[in-house]
């Protein structure tokens, strides 16, 4: 997946709005492979990299189960704890993760996620349609030298 401006900014804007509207602590977009795309909210102690990878594993595992019973996928997952909750929604090639506590309600989160999903889907459609366009910035990968690569392993 290749992300550029202005879509990156747009994703963050929708995430921020969703966070406020749903009274959530964190709203987080990751791709289905577990790579973080963008996050909004109070991530102070939250290990977002681990969360992204586990959420992707979680969705992959439930997706595998879905296929075993003849479903394409289970588009939403909801995990409710004593105080903290996680709601995950599949949006095309991305996952939207909402972390919320007992100040918020699952019903409201679901509703707001549904509304935001359409906006996210639209932005991702733009991201996809531009995936193969390259800009000047990108020829820079063609110029990566062996020394650049070696320097990473010093």
């Amino acid at each position: 997946m290749v992300i550029r401006e202005p879509q990156f900014g747009q994703l963050k804007t929708v995430l921020a709005k969703l966070r406020t509207d749903a009274a959530a602590q964190v709203t987080f977009l990751v791709d289905k492979n577990g790579q973080s795309i963008a996050v909004q909210g109070d991530v102070g102690n939250l290990d977002t990299t681990s969360l992204a990878s586990l959420a992707a594993g979680n969705v992959a595992a439930t997706g595998g189960m879905a296929q075993l019973v003849g479903e394409k996928e289970f588009p939403t997952l909801s995990h409710e704890g004593e105080h903290e909750n996680i709601y995950i929604c599949v949006i095309g090639r991305a996952l939207l993760i909402v972390v919320f506590d007992d100040q918020a309600s699952l019903g409201l989160v679901k509703l707001r996620v549904k509304q935001a999903s359409r906006e996210f889907a639209q932005i991702f459609a733009e991201i996809n349609s531009q995936a193969n366009e390259s800009t000047d910035d990108e020829s820079l990968f063609a110029e990566i030298t062996d020394e650049d690569i070696d320097s990473l392993f010093k």
């Binding site: 401006e5 990156f8 791709d31 492979n33 681990s50 990878s53 594993g57 595998g64 820079l140 990473l152």
Partner: protein, 194 residues
């Protein structure tokens, strides 16, 4: 599939350690984890059984530095090697950028190596990947064991396409970083081509 964010200037790549049960995949990650500075790594997550066999995957993010102003991160995963976890193995290969095949050098594990390699090709195909085109290295692990068969014989049996071959003793770290570098280089070189 490499993840590139031009807005935040990040490149993330996914590397998967594959191979038969008990060949030392988790041990490779554990060694990398233990010998990396805290600033360049995240948590090592192991979804394992009570007997420390990988149940779903191990995961660790590793930040290597910047290339041309882009923060370069590798997400390292291992698969569960036990035959009956095939569905999980397949899931983890999704979106892979490079594979390390960890072979167990012991003679009695030869069949398991071959079966696992065959399984890798099959599962890659299920995702539309072709081992022949993917960044790929072969690690011959457990070189310290007396029952290890000669490296040349193992390579002759398991090498698929002239990929780099690294002898290793993952338990003590021998060859672990050489293996990682070797696959990471191929992944970055691939980026240059695209």
């Amino acid at each position: 599939m490499t993840f590139i964010n031009y807005a935040s200037r990040e490149i993330n790549c996914k590397i998967v350690y594959y191979g038969p049960g008990l060949c030392g995949k988790t041990t490779n990650l554990q060694y990398i984890y233990d010998s990396t500075a805290p600033t360049s790594k995240g948590k090592l997550i192991s979804l394992a059984t009570e007997t420390d066999r990988t149940l779903f995957f191990d995961f660790m993010p590793l930040e290597l530095g910047t290339v041309r102003g882009f923060k370069t991160r590798f997400h390292l995963y291992t698969v569960p090697g036990q035959v009956f976890y095939d569905a999980s193995r397949k899931l983890i290969l999704k979106g892979v950028d490079g594979v390390v095949f960890v072979a167990d050098s012991q003679e009695e594990r030869m069949d398991a190596n071959i079966e696992s390699l065959y399984n890798l090709e099959e599962n890659l195909q299920a995702h539309g990947h072709d081992l022949m085109k993917l960044p790929y290295v072969l690690q011959l692990n457990k070189r310290d064991l007396p029952t290890a068969i000669p490296a040349a014989d193992l390579a002759a049996e398991l090498q698929r396409k002239g990929e780099p071959v690294h002898e290793a003793v993952a338990a003590t770290g021998v060859g672990v970083f050489d293996t990682l570098k070797s696959v990471a280089k191929q992944v970055l070189t691939e980026l240059r081509k695209s």
